[in-house]
Symmetry: C2
Subunit: 422 residues, 2 copies
């Protein structure tokens, strides 16, 4: 995706909203970039909106309308990052660093027109690369772009990570540093389990699953993008200068074998999903397809799906799936007409937790699933649904048992820190 | 500058920062626009940044640098209006009005590259006009545009007025309503002189002079633009629904004759200028040109200029001019090398006031100048400099006498309100 005629190594760095939360932190970020420049690097920086700017703007729009126009919300929200790029560039200039800012549109981020959750179609990094002819730093607004008609778009929550990775791919950088308020990726959420260990490396596929399962550190789309374009991500602390976690390809490498001696890389818990049960659907071909088509039209992607005949004497099926809690009502509304026509019904349960183990080969390593179910059972939790893939196994359990089950599974796969276990 | 294929009359309205200072006021502005739509109009609205947003952003940049990069200041400041257009469009939508927002760049405002005080080169209103195919209101960010290289620019203080007038010209509207926190143009500043009267109409040229002289209501460039493209400006209150003042062409009309029976339309006082005296410059051709060329290079336009030989026995000249107080030091720095080379010197006096009378024909109406000087003398003020043009006469007096002299001149030309004079 593009090549550069410049000799100096180009580094891509991303700083989140907390890292630039106030003028003092903005200055610290500028100083960190300045030191990379002093070491002879050119730096393309992606930056988020300062602190709670985005939430504040959303609240302002909410005061004016219950359902703010999505196009206009994007016009509003893109100002947050635009302020950040200007201020960071001014801070860099004050340190004597030659820098230049770029909005998403100016940096060549072309997206589709899905306001609020747009996807990057193309990054034309020419203007950014040209800036390095007389600047050492290009400061690019994260989270945003424009569509073919010149409408401003945003990539949705966590979109700045995707901006950074896509920028790295477009300018031909082989590493993208993501600075955040944690110092890397852990075997599980260290706020929940004190025994969690920081990982030195993690494979793209493992990270994709963990990200999708609610590890807040990286946005799944950024990991997908990184894997697709072979960009190594270095997740590290914005406040502590030590190495973090490398997200890279481990499959087929020497390292991979070492790591798979421990089949499970991480354990994740997700309390933000709900389970929807569909009752009394006729056991005929095409019914499930119709229901999921309705959900798709409403923009809802079910996550775990199970389907099974109730009993031999009953020709009506039972089916269940999980969706994010905030779209439960939308999901029920979407399938109601079809269910009504079939004399079927649906019910929702929000008191569930999705517990998942992730590892390069968990799906095909004998005994892994059994060991997980055993650990869950040891804390008295009933398993309601199970899904598996090559890199993860997920179970749905009552939310009340979530924390205890997480701790038991983390320990069962030998992920507790040695000193904590001692 | 463009034509429209739409049948409904198109109105241009501009709302300043005070009018959209908070969510409640934003809602009021939306309601006012909605009522124009209900009357069958299509409306192109220009809006400024909310309340003190611009000042707050400038302060933020000031915390990071003593001299923030001008390009980046523009990137920062344009976010203020961008937030306003999004929020106003959301507020309009909440009232059921079909509206669409445009940044300056999206609305086709092409400017030169003078960051912080860019001039509009061209307005390509195609996108705005196209929006009226399925919307009733286009909400355009004031004060901003982009240059030929896609850099964001701002038009400088008061630039939103210019945006509104240029937009009116580009979409072919013949009137531009400027909503502000006063209810029109007065014979002088009503905060200073209680006897000031509101004018029903004022000529472009008179308004140009008054605007340039510190009447804060309209930016001079907007008036210049209105005169050039024949756009009538209606300055009116954002809070009180009664007619304000029309800025239009009065010359050669019946109205003009009636108005010139009172030769003076308005009186203005300006305390923001300083006088620079240049001493001991040789009386040779080209010296003044050199000094003013140096000032021009520094971006400084002197306002009043007087020059005269000191005495017959002295071959060295005296010269004086006025500049805005905030560039006094820059002006002195700019001419110092030339003065040093000529063994000349300069001194500055900030304790001055510029008192001006404005009227379509003051410069050519016998007795007007004399009556003004007499009124100034009646309060014991010494006149330091005098300049005249067809539409104004200005004098420099000590700032201590400014208020009293203003009152005397206002009364001398019969501008006091009848009831106040009684």
């Amino acid at each position: 995706m593009g090549s550069r005629g410049v000799a100096r190594p180009l580094l891509v760095q991303k700083f989140g909203g907390t890292s630039v939360g106030d003028v003092e932190r903005m200055r610290n970020v500028a100083a960190r970039i300045a030191s990379a420049v002093a070491e002879g690097r050119q730096v393309a920086v992606t930056v988020s909106a300062m602190g709670h700017t985005t939430d504040r703007l959303i609240a302002l729009a909410g005061e004016l309308s219950d359902r703010p126009l999505r196009r206009e919300l994007d016009v509003l929200l893109t100002t947050g990052e635009q302020q950040s790029i200007a201020l960071l560039t001014i801070a860099l200039d004050a340190l004597g660093v030659r820098a230049r800012s770029f909005t998403g549109a100016q940096a060549g981020f072309l997206t589709d027109s899905r306001h609020g959750s747009a996807r990057i179609l193309q990054v034309n990094a020419e203007a950014v690369l040209r800036a390095f002819e007389d600047a050492d730093v290009a400061v690019v607004a994260g989270f945003q772009g424009e569509d073919r008609d010149g409408n401003l778009t945003t990539l949705g929550r966590g979109g700045s990570d995707t901006t950074a990775v896509a920028l790295a791919a477009a300018v031909g950088a082989d590493e993208c540093e993501i600075y955040t308020d944690t110092d890397g990726i852990y075997t599980t959420d260290p706020h929940l389990i004190a025994q969690a260990c920081k990982l030195e490396r993690i494979d793209y596929d493992e990270m994709l699953e963990l990200a999708a399962l609610g590890a807040q550190v990286l946005h799944p789309r950024s990991v997908w993008y990184a894997r697709r374009y072979g960009v190594r991500i270095h997740v590290r602390s914005a406040f502590v200068p030590r190495p973090g976690t490398l997200v890279t390809s481990l499959k087929g490498r020497q390292e991979a074998r070492m790591i798979t001696e421990k089949p499970v890389t991480g354990v994740a818990i997700d309390l933000n999903h709900a389970r929807i049960d569909v009752h009394g659907v006729p056991d005929e071909p095409g019914i499930a397809a119709r229901l999921f088509a309705e959900l798709g039209k409403a923009g809802i992607s079910p996550d775990m799906i199970v389907q099974g005949v109730r009993g031999a004497s009953d020709s009506r099926q039972q089916m269940a799936f999980t969706v994010p809690q905030d779209v439960v009502q939308d999901a029920l509304d979407a399938i109601r007409p079809t269910l009504d026509a079939l004399h079927a019904s649906a019910s929702a349960d929000v008191d569930i937790a999705k517990l998942s183990i992730v590892g390069i080969a968990v799906g095909s390593t004998p005994g892994v699933a059994g060991r997980m179910f055993e650990a869950v059972a040891s804390v008295g939790a009933n398993i309601g649904m199970i899904t598996t893939s090559e890199v993860r196994i997920s179970v749905v359990i009552p939310s009340g048992a979530a924390h205890e089950a997480l701790r038991a599974v983390h320990a069962a796969f030998g992920l507790d820190r040695p000193e904590a276990a001692a």
